[in-house]
Symmetry: C2
DNA sequence: GCGACCCATTCCACTAGTGCCATGGTCCTG
DNA sequence: CAGGACCATGGCACTAGTGGAATGGGTCGC
């Protein structure tokens, strides 16, 4: 998930300055991408402007740097939609934000496109759950450094438990979401 | 969380070849780091060998490339332990693997060091939960591209719900783990 | 006896991201 | 009236990671 696409998505909802974008990723967008650097935002913005994916209006500010309000061009929107509605390959770890990122831009999708993504995610996580079960792990330290095997076994056992619980829970949520989309239950609700 | 540290941790448990390490991150270590490239593993291994953090024994294989079995040196172990037991700054997103990574190497820690990490994580997530509640988000599309506001509101609402449920659940697990460590319940169990 | 897959290392060009700092303004607060 | 937060842009050196391919075995099954 490139910063590029996230920026296009955010700008697609609301034209912003580089500063606004940075602020967004520090606050409500933090679950999409954390630790976003100023420099990175501006660098990507410059590149996208060169490629014609975004344009900006300059608001002159006497003395200080001008403020540039960026907006997505039709070409940029095409690039963004190609990513958003293009093939979704669920990442190996259910927790990384690929899926969440796409869902948070679901306003740009049709319900059919959304369903395709949800279905792909669901299939991947069901597979994953099966593989988690027939997976034994042994912990042995052979390297001669001080290592508390008993503690390691107990804690990693718990981590594995947490992991598969999370996947199960995620699957249940996806099933519920899927049904709600199909039944039109996402319409006309608070 | 640098690949460096993960490699040192894994090698600290079991000396391995570069290939073994890559395989590990593709299978049981996949929750620590996904999509690990061969080239990256070998590059980091070379650098660490230069710095004296690891050494290797060469097993000659006639015709083909020699196989090198890497192991951690005392200096490397020091570097690793400095990271592992050094200050833990919980990442903004509860889901990224910093915490999990440290816990999976808990065999190298004392129970006190483990507790410090768990406590830091717990404090961070409790703060986060408070901030999640007084956080209103409004979704408006002002950019003129086709945008289904109703769908977006419904789905992002659900995402937010999922997110805060996850944090709550994570906190409960941490509390339970904390108590179990303190009560010595991680000892002598299956 | 060949294709597929495993073992094992290395190189190369490239892209993305980090961390830190400089500039220069406004507005608020104690 | 100083200090800090906020607004806004940008430069620089650096590090880490991606993606792909070349090399050259070995083993297993069909």
């Amino acid at each position: 998930m490139k910063l590029e696409h996230l920026l296009l998505g955010v700008l697609g909802m609301r034209p912003s300055t580089g500063y606004d974008l940075k602020k967004f990723f520090d606050t409500s967008g933090r679950y999409l991408r954390s630790n976003t650097q100023m420099s990175q935002v501006y660098r990507v913005l410059h590149r996208m402007a060169d490629q014609g994916w975004v344009t900006y209006d300059v608001e002159p500010r006497q003395g200080a740097q001008d403020a540039k309000t960026y907006r997505v061009t039709p070409e940029g929107m095409t690039v963004f939609l190609d990513w958003l509605t293009g093939p979704y390959l669920p990442p190996f770890r259910a927790r990384d934000p690929e899926f969440t990122a796409r869902l948070s831009f679901c306003g740009f999708m049709t319900e059919e496109q959304l369903l395709r993504i949800v279905d792909a995610e669901l299939a991947a996580r069901r597979d994953q759950l099966i593989q988690l079960h027939d997976h034994e792990r042994t912990i042995v330290s052979e390297a001669g450094y001080s290592f508390d095997v008993e503690l390691a076994v107990a804690v990693t056992g718990r981590l594995a438990e947490w992991g598969s619980d999370d996947v199960e829970r995620h699957i249940q949520r996806l099933e519920r979401l899927r049904e709600d989309i199909l039944a039109g239950r996402l319409r006309n609700q608070a």
